[in-house]
Symmetry: C2
Subunit: 335 residues, 2 copies
DNA sequence: TTGTATGCGTTATCAC
DNA sequence: GTGATAACGCATACAA
């Protein structure tokens, strides 16, 4: 590897002069600057960012932790984060926790040893709290993304899950549905709780009693529990519509419904949170669409502001709105 | 930040003793080892991997460059790479070039300055060659993924695009199709050329003349060119089936076909390379499915072997087979 | 079994 | 304008 010393020798200057040329710092005559630059080119010099980090005490790296890299919501978010990071001169270290606390912990350890300048953290669940406390203890700035974590105060970019859920369910009510089921993610994830609240809000606003036997808890990763579905359908007064906590739950749900011969939306309407991405032929789902790209982009912005101290001490909370998009998966209840 | 010196002071030993405890190297009495470990715990010590890299001349970081983070093929590949990397004790630095040479170059620069130990490189196109030469010049080991690049010799994990394409087209021929169009990715990407060859192979094997007016070139990112589609449909002897170069092309194609009122597969069969991922309700496409996860996992394995010198000097070429999966998007041609 | 000196590649400080 | 020196946090080689 060629170092500043190699350049210095070739250019008949000291290493310091080379360093100054690289960083455009200090006073250097145009002549030597040009000579040094030329030699750097010739020798294919690339600064060693490890050495740089060591003395500067900053890595210009940020870490992004997401819970599901297969979900288009998070990959789109990742693109937003990546673009913003690059624009601001930071590298982005991705991590995918797969909703697993074990994996998440491994990433946190890695983050600490890598001395990244900050972390964009989309928590696996409320149980991620100790991981965040660890980051706090080591004074690594972080911004919570999409999910809040009880007991952790911090900057955050979240969606308005409660309102989005209410809008989705009110849409169903508007179509004439009264028996509306909820198939939710784990309630140890803040968005799932908010969506439950929004669901209840909508019911209350329309004088529909909350029926516990219609509220199911699953996982945002996928819907596989066929038993749950059967129980739902075999209820004395079964639902005519389902609000799914996220896109993947909706997909899994509809797959099973089709297997069981339940037509959507003819016999059952389905609505959900989050879009399904580019691989879908026919945008079919009625969704509360969230600006995933913005989640990432704004998250990075907040994080970098915090790192640079360019922000007030109070925690910044950014709440991005969701948009109700009505499509083919919801319709009037069967007569 | 707490360093080995802080630990050393607390434990009444030298910094070196601490270092040895951390790395399990040299002889240390059980007593001091225990004491040092305890103090490391208490002080929340985390080794500084920058400093470590600097002296060890290795970062234990690998870089993965993919051309499209929104495509399930590449995200699945990324998961495979990530899992394998973590298992082997490496961190993974993701990069998404978006099929853009400019972005790709930025990532290459970043890779060089970060001194990653190796790179998993899925090239934007043949024009990525200078980027790879740059890596070579700086002696950074790399493994080509999915796509070969003319003029660059290296380890590689690729699919058998030619054979996969032949199988897909022969499947169509078997159904009775004779007029089969090809909507391909850019021919400056090796897999697109291979798929064109496989397409031609299948035609020749079945005594169907290659008709240039049926072979279209688009981009793997998406299919948007409605003009191309109209020209195809308005041909004197229009195709009854299309072989799409990848999943996204097939999705875009079918969307346009549906808009134009052309039913699939009734009036037009569509087959393609690569699956569509978890967001699809109803697996509908007849595809040549590639083991995307394996691409990433094996790629990392090859790369780490190369880094450790645990492999022969000759370049290793791994070719992973694709599997023909027949589903609803292909059928007999209309009478 | 433990400690000392040295260097990895860079930059900040201050002297020339 | 330019350069010598020390420091960032750690590990290797060698002494004690």
């Amino acid at each position: 590897m060629v170092t500043i010393y190699d350049i210095a020798k070739q250019a008949n200057v000291s290493a310091m002069t080379v360093s100054k040329v690289i960083n455009n710092t200090g006073k250097i005559s145009e002549k030597t600057r040009a000579r040094v630059k030329k030699i750097m080119e010739e020798m294919n010099y690339v600064p060693n960012s490890m050495a740089r980090s060591l003395v500067l005490q900053e890595t210009k790296m940020l870490s992004l932790l997401i819970p599901d890299i297969t979900n288009p919501f998070f990959t789109t978010l990742a693109r937003g984060a990546e673009d913003a990071a690059m624009r601001l001169g930071y590298k982005l270290l991705f991590g995918n926790s797969d909703e697993s606390l074990t994996k998440e912990k491994e990433y946190v350890d890695m983050i600490l040893s890598t001395r990244v300048d900050g972390v964009l953290f989309s928590a696996a669940s409320d149980l991620s709290e100790p991981h965040l406390q660890t980051l706090r203890k080591h004074r690594i700035p972080f911004v919570l993304l999409d999910r809040e974590v009880p007991g952790v105060e911090s900057d955050a970019v979240t969606g308005n899950s409660r309102e989005g859920a209410r809008k989705l369910v009110e849409h169903l009510v508007g179509l004439g549905h009264r028996r509306i089921a909820l198939v939710n993610g784990s309630l140890s994830v803040s968005t799932a709780r908010d969506r439950l609240d929004g669901y209840k809000d909508a019911l209350k606003l329309n004088d529909i009693p909350f029926d516990e036997s219609l509220a199911f808890e699953s996982s945002y990763k996928h819907f596989e529990d066929e038993g749950m579905l059967r129980r739902m359908l075999e209820l004395p007064d079964p639902p005519t519509a389902v609000f799914a906590g996220n896109n993947f739950l909706a997909v899994g749900l509809i797959r099973k419904l089709l297997e069981l011969g339940v037509k959507v939306p003819d016999r059952m309407s389905v609505v959900c949170f989050d879009d399904l991405g580019a691989s879908v032929i026919d945008p079919f789902f009625t969704v509360a669409s969230q600006p995933a790209y913005q989640f990432g982009a704004m998250g990075i912005q907040l994080l970098v502001d915090r790192i640079k101290g360019a922000t007030t001490p109070e925690w910044k909370k950014l709440v991005l709105p969701s948009e109700l998009i009505v499509r083919g998966s919801s319709g009037r209840p069967p007569a």
